[in-house]
């Protein structure tokens, strides 16, 4: 594959204009970008009633390799998808801040880029080694993931 890619674990806010520009090629006519951000109110039992902020931690080197693997999985499923960007922020993130980004480019909007972006964020939450802690006024709680990757989730 020679499509443009960008995989990053970073403490910086992703610049959507710059990420989109990275995926531009003359034959790209559509880019779908998912961005996730920190929500202000949580509802789950055992967690602080009001999230003050989140702290994200990553196994950065493995995370970036798994992002590249997700891109390969996307190209296998949607061969018309071209450039792919996947970004995970780490560190202290306040309500409203962007936490993650998945962008997929294609020639046209009907060539799988919507489905690919959706697959990308779903898959990121399964196999990219990142963990978040909700930090409330008086205590913190690590969020529990519910997917157990096996060796079948390797490339």
């Amino acid at each position: 594959m020679s499509h443009p890619t960008y995989f990053a674990v970073t403490t910086d806010t992703p610049d959507l204009n710059a990420v989109t520009a990275l995926l531009k090629q003359p034959d790209v006519g559509a880019i779908i970008t998912f961005t996730g951000s920190v929500r202000g109110a949580t509802r789950r039992d055992g967690l602080p009633a009001q999230t003050l902020h989140l702290e994200y931690e990553a196994y950065a080197r493995m995370a970036e390799e798994k992002m590249a693997q997700i891109a390969e999985e996307i190209w296998e499923r949607w061969p018309l998808v071209k450039g792919i960007a996947i970004v995970q922020r780490v560190g202290t993130l306040q309500v409203g801040e962007m936490t993650t980004l998945v962008a997929c480019a294609a020639g046209h909007r009907d060539q799988g880029a919507f489905e690919a972006a959706r697959y990308g964020i779903d898959r990121l939450k399964q196999i990219v080694p990142v963990w978040k802690k909700e930090v409330g006024a008086d205590h913190s709680v690590w969020i529990e993931g519910d997917y157990r990757p096996t060796s079948a989730d390797n490339n």
């Binding site: 196994y59 964020i121 939450k125 990142v130 963990w131 990757p149």
Partner: protein
């Protein structure tokens, strides 16, 4: 052989450290490494059944072989995004 095990999230908090060192006999599997950790790090033992192991940044099974120089990490199921 000596192995350095990287710890993340709850595992890091339990151990109070970012990595621990263990010594296991060769040839070793992930199960051997986990048994050694369980015996030598009581604070980590309760969390091991629900934890994941990566060897050289790939998800490992109990039967996965671990060799000298391998990068081994121990962490809970991921919760990023």
């Amino acid at each position: 052989m000596n192995l350095t095990i990287q710890l993340f999230a709850t595992l890091k908090d339990r151990a109070g450290e970012r990595h621990i060192d263990v010594t296991v006999a060769e040839p070793a599997t992930v199960a051997d490494v986990l048994n050694t950790i369980s015996a030598e790090y009581p604070a980590l033992a309760p969390a091991l059944p629900s934890s994941l192991v990566a060897v050289n940044r790939q998800f490992a099974e109990p039967t996965t072989r671990v060799d000298v120089g391998d990068e081994v990490a121990l962490f809970p199921p991921v919760s990023g995004g």
